[in-house]
């Protein structure tokens, strides 16, 4: 007797695994979250660029701190996007 691998092997099992309403919703949410995370990374990159430009336009003592925060924000966005892609 063949031992179960935990993965769907028969047609009904595959249908159940990928085409059930729950699976479809999970896939939709996964894609939605991933797209949101990618947009967030783009937003974080724009912030880093914009802060750099604004610090050149007006230089203040707080400028380097804001620049650092912008970079940390970008790292956070990348970690978030990676987490969604690899953990979910």
């Amino acid at each position: 007797m063949q031992q179960s691998t935990g993965y769907p092997s028969t047609i009904p099992e595959i249908t159940e695994a990928f085409l059930s309403p729950e699976s479809l919703m999970t896939t939709v949410f996964f894609i939605g979250l991933l797209l949101a995370a990618i947009l967030y990374v783009v937003f974080a990159i724009v912030i880093v660029r914009q802060v750099k430009i604004m610090n050149k336009t007006i230089s203040t003592p707080l400028g380097p701190v804001i620049q650092l925060l912008a970079w940390l924000h970008l790292v956070f966005a990348l970690v978030l996007a990676g987490g969604i892609f690899f953990i979910l």
């Binding site: 979250l33 914009q50 604004m54 050149k56 336009t57 007006i58 707080l62 804001i66």
Partner: protein
């Protein structure tokens, strides 16, 4: 970066105008004459600015003679007199929205709406929510912090950080200013002493607006003093 207590001066003279190069040659011609015709410090002619010490607080909406602050096109000997931002009270709306948004997940669990999803999706949605809140706060703060109005002894500069992808920088010479008006209306503006200062100029952009800035009357007073000093400089033939 300069760190003295005097108003900061840019060392970049690459943008100097032809008239400025004449000024340099004039300076070298006679040191004594230059002393006589020297560029006066703002405290020497402005009663408004004499009331304030040089500002070290970088988050002030009304920073008189800000220290360690420079802007890109600042010329040599150009004193930064005043840095203005919108009054902090005008920022309360986004702060309240951010606070409410930040505490929503503590009362409403997003996972409870999506019971058909695996449990880690609920956590992911909560983290995504907080990421959105962080982005909103960051963007709103940057829009406030970098949206500045600068008054120097030579120019008025309006740096508009309208959104993350759009910014606009306008400047006009003090000598081109034709009219300055301040508008303040409503209970909030009266109580917190803020309003809009409109500067009419003879330049390409006829109007520069300082929106929701603190102490609008004081700013108008300062402009009057700057205009008088500008006229005095022209009469006495002092360096610009």
């Amino acid at each position: 970066m300069p760190s003295s207590t005097a108003p900061q001066l840019s060392t970049d003279t690459s943008t100097a105008s032809p008239s400025e190069s004449n000024v340099h040659s004039h300076r070298s011609s006679s040191a004594g004459d230059f002393e006589h015709r020297r560029h006066r410090s703002v405290d020497e002619y402005s009663q408004v600015m004499r009331r304030f010490r040089p500002s070290i607080h970088t988050l002030h909406a009304f920073a008189a003679k800000p220290l360690q602050t420079e802007f890109a096109s600042q010329e040599a000997n150009e004193q930064l007199i005043l840095l203005l931002r919108r009054h902090p009270i005008t920022q309360v709306s986004w702060i309240i929205i951010a606070l409410v948004a930040a505490i929503i997940p503590t009362f409403i669990d997003p996972g409870s709406f999506f019971t058909f999803l695996p449990p880690n999706y609920g956590t992911a949605i909560t983290i995504a929510w907080y990421a959105g809140v962080i982005a909103y706060i960051f963007q709103a703060f940057l829009a406030w912090y970098y949206n500045v109005y600068l008054i120097t002894d030579e120019r008025v500069v309006d740096v508009d950080f309208i959104s993350l992808i759009y910014r606009n920088i306008t400047s006009a010479k003090i000598s081109n200013i034709e009219d300055v008006t301040s508008t303040a209306g409503g209970a909030l503006q009266t109580v917190f002493d803020y309003g809009t200062v409109t500067v009419q100029t003879a330049g390409a952009k006829p109007e520069i607006e300082f929106e929701d800035v603190p102490h609008p009357n004081m700013i108008v007073e300062l402009f009057n003093e700057l205009l008088q000093e500008e006229e005095q400089e022209t009469l006495e033939g002092r360096v610009n």
